[in-house]
Amino acid sequence: MSLIAWIELIASGLITGGIYALVALGLNLQYGLMRILNIAHGEFLMVGAFITWMVQTQFGFSPLAMLPLSFLLLLALGVSVHWLCFKRLTVTSPNLDVFEARGLMVAFGLMFLVQNFVSYVWGGDLRGYDYLSEPVRFGEIQFAGNKLLVFGLSLLFSIVLIVLLRMTLLGKGVRALMQSPVGAQLVGIDTQRLHPLMFGIGLGLSGIAGCLLSMAYTISPSMGEPYTVTALIVITLGGFGSMGGALAGGLLLGVIEAVGMHFTNPSLKALLSYVVFISVLLLRPEGLFARKKRKA
C-alpha cells in the first residue's frame, strides 16, 4: 500500500472518529457527572439531524446556521427531560446503584419514545440533502468538502468543551462534582442547577453532532442506535468520566474501524467494534488511558 493510500485511510478514520468523539463527550458528561447512562443519546442525535434536515429543506437555511439552533433546542429538551424524569429519580432512589439501574431503564423508555415519535412524524425513509459535496484536493489526496467541514467542526466543539471544563469556574464545579459529589456540595456547588444544565449540554452536543452528520450522510429514524453503541464503546475506551480520554478514544476507534475494514471486510465493521468494546471492558474496565483512579 502506498503512502497516499495510508494517509487517506487514516484521515477517513479520523473524520468518522471526530463525530464519535463529539457524541461520546456528551454521553460522558452525563454518565461521569450524574451516573445516567443515557442509552437514548443517539436518538437525540437523530432528532438534531432531523430538525436540521427539515429546516434546511423547508426554509432553505444553511445547515451551519442550524448548529446553534439545534444545540439550544436540544439543550432545552434535555433540561426538561431532566426536570421531568431524573429529578424525581434522584430524590426517590435509595442509593447510587439503584439510581443507575433505574436511570438506565428510563433511558431505554426515552429511546423507544423518541425513536418512534420521529418515525411516526417523519416516516422511516432515508433522507438527505446536498451540502458542499464537491471534493477538496490537497496535492494528490482528496476529500469530500462536507466531511472535512464535519471533522473540523466536531474537533473544534470537542476541544472547546474540554477547554471550557478546564478553564472556567463552571468547568471547575463540574469536575469537582465528577470527583466527589458530596465534597462538591460541601464546598457550595449547586447540584440542583448544575445537573439539569449539564444533562442539557450533553444532549445539546448530540444535537450538534446530528446537525453535522446530516451534512455529510443520509439520515433515518434508526440511525441513532449505532451511534449510542459507538459512544458507549468510546467512553469505555477512554474511561468513564474522562473527557480527554473520550476525545482520544473516539479518534482511535475511527481509525481502528477504518483500518480494520480496509484489511478485512466491510461487513466486519460492527463485529470489530464489539470485539474492541468487550475486550476493553473485560481487560481494562477503567479505560485505556486511565491512570490509577478511585474505583467507580
Partner: protein, 342 residues
C-alpha cells in the same frame, strides 16, 4: 398468610391458568391462538428473567442472544431429531453459552453488566450474520419440516407452566434465598458463606435455558429465520420491560404484564406500530418513576399515596402562586430584622 398457604395459593392459580391455556384451542379462533402463543413466549421469557435478574438485580440484556441461539439450533436440527430433543438441545446450547458468558462477566455489577451483556448479544448476532454470509452463503434459513400447530402450542403451554413452577419452587429453596441475598447485598451474602460465583452462574444458565427452549419452540412459527429477526435486541428489551413493569421481584408480576402487553401489542401494533412502541417507552418511564415495585405491587394504598402526593404538591403550588409564600417570607424577614434591631 403463612408460607404454606402462599405456596398452595400460587400452585392453585397456576393450575387454573394452565387449564385455561389448555382449553383455549377448543374455543378460540386462530388469531386469538397466535396471540396466546406470543403471550406465553413473553410469560416464559420474563418470568425466567425475573427469576434470576429480578432477585439478584443483575440486569441482563442478553435474552435475545439465548432466544436466537435456541432458534438457530432448532433450525439446524429440526430435520434430524424428534421435536422434544430439539427443544432440549436448544435449551442446553443457550445454557452452555450462558455459563461461558457468565464466567466472563458476572463479576461486574450494575451498568457494566447490562452494557456488556448487550454488547455480547450484538457480537453473537453479528458473528452469526457474518458466518452465514461468508461461509454458508445465505442470510437466513428456511425451516422445511415443522410440527403441527397443536404440538407447538402444547409445548409453549408446557414451557410456560414449567417456567412459573420453577420460579415458585426456587423461591423456597436455599438457592433462591441465596439469589435474594446476592440482590440485597452481595458482600454480605459472601461473608455468610454463599458461593456467589456458582449461584450466579447457575441462575444465569437457568434463565438462558428457558430462553433457549422458547427460541427453539417459537422458531418453527416463522418458518424462515435470519439473525436479524431472532437475535433482535428488541426481544431482550421487551422481556426486561415486561418484567420491570410487572415487578421484577414478584412472582406474578411478569405474567400479568406479559398478558397486558401482548393484548396491547396485538391491538395497537397492527394499526399504528409506532404508537405501540411509544406507549411502551412511556409506560416504562412512568413505572420506573412512580411504581418501582411494578404492577404487582399495586394496592389501594398506592393510589391513596399518589392522591395525597398530588394534593400536597398542588397545595404547595397554590401557596406559592397565590403570593402567600412571598408574604410569609417577607413577614419572617421583617420579624428577624426587628429582633436584630431590638
Amino acid at each position: 398468610m403463612t408460607s404454606r398457604q402462599l405456596l398452595i395459593r400460587d400452585l392453585l392459580v397456576l393450575f387454573g391458568l394452565s387449564g385455561w391455556a389448555l382449553a383455549l384451542p377448543g374455543i378460540a379462533s386462530d388469531f386469538v391462538l397466535s396471540m396466546a402463543l406470543t403471550c406465553m413466549m413473553y410469560v416464559v421469557l420474563s418470568s425466567s428473567w425475573a427469576m434470576f435478574c429480578g432477585t439478584t438485580r443483575y440486569l441482563s440484556l442478553a435474552t435475545a442472544a439465548f432466544f436466537g441461539l435456541g432458534a438457530y439450533s432448532s433450525a439446524l436440527l429440526l430435520g434430524n431429531m424428534p421435536w422434544w430433543q430439539v427443544i432440549v438441545v436448544g435449551a442446553l446450547v443457550a445454557a452452555s453459552v450462558a455459563v461461558l458468558m457468565g464466567a466472563a462477566v458476572l463479576h461486574l455489577r450494575g451498568t457494566y453488566f447490562a452494557v456488556l451483556t448487550f454488547g455480547m448479544t450484538e457480537l453473537i448476532r453479528h458473528a452469526i450474520t457474518y458466518y452465514e454470509k461468508s461461509v454458508t452463503g445465505t442470510v437466513g434459513r428456511v425451516l422445511m419440516v415443522v410440527p403441527d400447530r397443536e404440538v407447538v402450542y402444547l409445548t409453549m403451554v408446557l414451557l410456560a407452566v414449567l417456567a412459573v413452577a420453577t420460579s415458585i419452587i426456587i423461591r423456597r429453596t436455599r438457592f433462591g434465598l441465596a439469589m435474594v441475598g446476592i440482590g440485597a447485598d452481595e458482600q454480605r451474602a459472601q461473608t455468610l458463606g454463599v458461593n456467589t460465583r456458582v449461584i450466579k452462574i447457575t441462575g444465569f444458565a437457568l434463565t438462558a435455558a428457558f430462553a433457549g427452549a422458547v427460541g427453539a419452540a417459537m422458531s418453527v412459527r416463522w418458518t424462515y429465520i435470519d439473525p436479524h429477526t431472532v437475535f433482535n435486541p428488541f426481544i431482550g428489551f421487551q422481556t426486561v420491560l415486561i418484567a420491570l413493569i410487572g415487578g421484577a421481584m414478584t412472582l406474578w408480576g411478569p405474567l400479568i404484564a406479559a398478558i397486558v402487553f401482548s393484548l396491547l401489542a396485538e391491538t395497537l401494533r397492527l394499526q399504528v406500530p409506532q404508537l405501540y412502541m411509544m406507549s411502551l417507552g412511556l409506560l416504562l418511564i412512568l413505572s420506573v418513576l412512580y411504581l418501582p415495585g411494578g404492577l404487582a405491587s399495586l394496592r389501594v394504598e398506592t393510589f391513596k399515596g399518589w392522591w395525597t402526593d398530588t394534593r400536597q404538591w398542588w397545595q404547595s403550588q397554590r401557596y406559592r402562586w397565590s403570593g402567600d409564600k412571598a408574604r410569609d417570607e417577607a413577614r419572617a424577614r421583617q420579624r428577624a430584622k426587628e429582633r436584630r434591631d431590638a
